[in-house]
Symmetry: C2
Subunit: 368 residues, 2 copies
């Protein structure tokens, strides 16, 4: 293996792939990045067996070949090099790297020891705008269950038809759903659950991407996300996602239109006075006064009351929420105003940004 | 106690004082801030018994009085309030706070339970520019010993005469010294050791201050830092500071003038290849080639070599340093170029920014 590429390209590629190279002591090869020089590019490949990522770096290949070295070490090192051409050459079990006055030998392991990434037939294709998917993931994924005691909700549900992708996550205490348009889809009715870790990796990869399209392919066991020269492949979560539509209230008794920032501020001040562990904030809805009252109290610390002027219709009502779920939700409303729909103290509250179709956040109340 | 002040002033004051209110379970009163309404101001006072801080907030005092409440809670709460007038009123054992549509009761403890801050006679006075002291502390304090097994070096030495303040810190592996001019001093020859925690608190307080003067007063046991309406008082460390002048080499065999950023870059790349725990980077000085070579190697990872073109005079030489101490020092050189003075492999290396008088950083070598 012998090749030349630019520091910028190699650095970008290593930044993308090196993150999932684990620090496995059982299987040290998983710490490594597979470097594969073929034709006109250097392929960088990492995997943690749950998912894998593959990226092509353009370069001048003088001699084809493959080798593996510690991904983090190579990434940290290349990141420090000047923005010049880098020469990579394999000599016995050392990767020699030269860049201006910097020279380095990195020891590594044979490419043949590196696990194969699963291949996926590029058949069930969906094409989306990155600028649609990225904010949708950011506003939904935080609801997924962090522990895996109920594996089916420890991921994010993708539900697809010809026109729409619906992304949903829940931890059974709250739920977020976002609908986005697809550019191209030949799927009548498909769905799959992506593990949260894969979603987080995808968010990392998408972070610096914009004004591009992204393709998704899937079969029964895997999904592949493709953007430019980057491929992220992941196992899917088996099992049946809960039928959450039935818990979204279809009606309400009280509806409030409220300024998002004022509501957030009131919940934050209340949060300082909640009972620890319970995190309970009481919201009293008073249509006769065009007002809601946000209250928290704690025998040791004291009590906090905030009165907020709102547009309100329907009945007088009262409900108690965990302030953390309120703050999470309010932080994800992109709009100046928010509609809150309340039925009673034991039915989930529904939060919808005013003037935005397709986003929904619901919270289970704390029953008192 | 009953008063009105602005959110901005109270928020600023609580930000300054609340940090040192500890989370003591032995002595819960130390979590609290003492609020003392007197004449035209509300005094905020906190202490952790090692140091204390006092600050006056201007306000309209309707009724004098004093009370204590949890410093962090009050600070977090006031920080969230709108930038309007705040009314504070004591009713039995509750502090009532009102600001527009926000109202809160915070429970607290009697002011009489709060420990007294030591008073210090304002006699031995030194006046400095904040803009001189702030960078000097930032460039010296990081060298102080973090553990207190040798208490005398777990602080920062202040050495004062009529013209100059010399600030020094060392952990016995490296040392930094900075001389700054004093605006006013009636002290012939004084010195004291300030605990590192006090220095860190002072740095926090100075962070947002500029273009101001600062007064320091001290006696045998305490020092007081005064800036505007803020007073930070601290115990001093007893004991004799080591006579460090004798370990600063007065001569050298090899002198190098090097670009600071290039040297830092080379040390950072080498640091990836050091032996863990030893952190050894070898520097070879080659006057015949106008070059220094920075080398690190590790049987498991590989080897890194960087050649740097420099101005160099004197003998061929070689020395090994802990890369962490090199990086710390190089990060604190404010100048494009740096002079490095090396005697031999067992004598401390001396680092001086070119074109800056009064700053010095020395590192003990690793003997091989």
């Amino acid at each position: 293996m012998k090749l030349t590429c630019t520091q910028e390209n190699l650095n970008f590629g290593l930044n993308v792939v090196s993150h999932i190279a684990s620090r496995s002591t059982n299987l040290p090869i998983l710490n490594n990045v597979l470097l594969k020089a073929e034709k006109t590019e250097l392929k960088l490949i990492t995997t943690n067996l749950e998912m894998g990522v593959k990226l092509g770096v353009r370069g001048k290949i003088d001699k084809e070949g493959a080798f593996t070295v510690q991904a983090k070490l190579l990434s940290d090192y290349v990141n420090l090099l000047p923005k010049e051409n880098i020469n990579l050459e394999l000599e016995e079990n050392n990767l020699n790297i030269k860049c201006l006055n910097y020279q380095t030998q990195i020891k590594g392991l044979e490419a043949t020891e590196f696990p194969l990434l699963p291949e996926i037939e590029k058949k069930n294709k969906i094409t989306l705008k990155v600028d649609d998917l990225k904010p949708a993931l950011n506003r939904v994924a935080f609801c997924a269950a962090l522990d895996e005691s109920r594996p089916e909700i420890s991921g994010v549900l993708f539900k697809i038809n010809e026109k729409q992708l619906v992304i949903t996550a829940t931890d059974s205490y709250r739920l977020a759903e976002k609908k986005i348009e697809v550019l191209e889809s030949k799927i009548n009715n498909g769905q799959f659950i992506i593990p949260l870790k894969t979603i987080q990796e995808l968010q990392r990869i998408l972070f610096s991407q914009q004004e591009k399209n992204l393709n998704i392919y899937f079969n029964d066991n895997q999904a592949l996300f493709e953007i430019d020269n980057i491929e992220l492949i992941s196992r899917l979560i088996e099992g049946q996602y809960p039928d959450y539509q039935q818990i979204i209230p279809q009606n309400y008794k009280t509806k409030v239109k409220i300024k998002t920032s004022e509501f957030l501020q009131a919940v934050k001040t209340a949060s300082l006075f909640c009972k620890p562990g319970i995190n309970d904030v009481k919201i009293t809805l008073l249509p006769s006064k065009n007002e809601i009252v946000v209250i928290a109290s704690n025998a040791n610390l004291g009590e906090n009351i905030t009165n907020l002027s709102v547009e309100i219709e329907g009945e007088e009502n009262e409900i108690v929420f965990n302030y953390r779920f309120l703050i999470d939700g309010l932080n994800n409303v992109n709009q100046e105003y928010l509609n809150v729909e309340i039925t009673n103290s034991s039915t989930p509250g529904v939060f919808r940004p005013v003037e935005e179709e397709g986003y929904l956040y619901i919270i289970m109340p704390i029953r008192q």
